[in-house]
Symmetry: C2
Subunit: 219 residues, 2 copies
DNA sequence: GCACTGACCGATCAATCGGTCAGCGCATTC
DNA sequence: GAATGCGCTGACCGATTGATCGGTCAGTGC
């Protein structure tokens, strides 16, 4: 299925437009994508895109909001499902990393919004969604700290920002690693394990055993 | 000095072009900047930009390479100047954060390159510069680890990537924090101190006293 | 005085941009 | 079977894009 050939097979045009826009915006950003590109990849006419979305910005906002809400819901579901507060963070980091790898377009879009142009974030409809997502993670970390898992002086906001930020940043710099000799021999799984190890050593209340290799237990 | 008025006062046109391009590319990215914008801000004709740089990409590469090399040299100078290996990392984190705040255009350009489009990084002249920068930091961390400051199983590559990545990511998300209620009461300095604390607790060899507040000593 | 160079400019190019518009085909409804 | 509404299209618009053009001008070496 070459990408230049329209593929209207059964899928509604609206969904094809949103799908194509998600892929293209993720890859090249708002300014780097032309509506004609979206239309071509979706197999529809350019005017049809403007039939479903009033402006290019509206299409971008719709795609972005959808990705952010999907990520927020998945995070909430996963954090709520983990019963043991001591395993919540390390298990989350592994799952979060896998999720970002499995949904590269979502990861890229959210990343671009979080670190992108000022005018996009402050007025658009996406900031409340991201804020709720972050506050949610902060609440879970605070609960784990109050349960005695983390040091009392470990700030839940800082810990949450590290959890979300480092893994997200890592997913967006992964393509650079094969080009740098220092990274030779460090796989993605190894990196996540060692990151989890450093973070947990840095925030946990007592010096228990190491947390390396959590990828292979209780899953 | 309004930005619409050309200001050729004494500064050569080439420098004004590069300066304007650095500011604009940092703020809006490659696709978001028009050569006419650069020319207007530099107070020169658009054709003059193409007289000094063959293509828009060549101008972008020149600006980017200059920023990356400047950052690399400053990092090397600062790391080499710190004699005590135990204080090298915490002092570096504070200095690095301050540097990124003081040079927002450099921070944004480097950040965009590190996390940006795949095709820009792999073929351009910037990757070797960044690779050398990173390997340099890795070497310093490895030396500190071999001196007994860090745990023997702390991977210098992972530690270096955390040092450089978290602070850089933090500088690019700082504009979002005032809009999120969880961040209320956490200043930039507080954040850097707590980040340093978590990182140092996570990697250091022995459990000594906390490393908070390093901003106010030996400077 | 002459030849030459490089910095610089106004005008202009074809291509592409986001967006508009009249109208087509088709299913539903009265 | 006429009318309505909707999804959709090709043709088109003015504006802007990166890039090129012929040409001006100050300076330099001889």
């Amino acid at each position: 299925m070459p990408d230049t050939v329209p593929s209207p097979g059964g899928v509604p045009a609206l969904d094809r437009i949103v799908g194509a826009a998600e892929r293209l915006f993720a890859g090249r950003g708002f300014d780097g994508v032309a509506i004609s590109d979206v239309a071509r990849q979706a197999g529809v006419c350019k005017a049809n895109v403007f039939h479903h979305f009033a402006t290019k910005q509206a299409l971008y906002d719709a795609v972005l909001t959808r990705s952010c809400e999907a990520l927020g819901e998945e995070i909430e579901r996963h954090l709520s499902a983990e019963a043991d507060p001591a395993l919540q963070v390390p298990h989350f980091l592994v799952w979060y990393h896998d999720y970002l790898c499995a949904h590269p377009a979502t990861a890229r879009l959210v990343f671009r919004e979080v670190t992108g142009n000022p005018d996009l974030a402050e007025s658009g409809p996406v900031l409340p969604v991201l804020s709720r997502l972050f506050d949610n993670v902060v609440a879970h970390v605070r609960a784990a700290r109050d349960a005695g898992v983390f040091r009392a002086d470990a700030d839940p906001t800082v810990v949450a920002s590290l959890m979300l930020g480092v893994t997200l940043f890592n997913s967006q710099t992964a393509r650079l690693r094969p080009h740098m000799p220092s990274w030779r021999g460090i796989s993605d799984e190894t990196y996540v394990d060692r990151l989890t190890d450093v973070l947990m050593r840095g925030v946990r209340a007592v010096d228990a055993n190491a947390v390396s290799g959590i990828r292979n237990d209780t899953t």
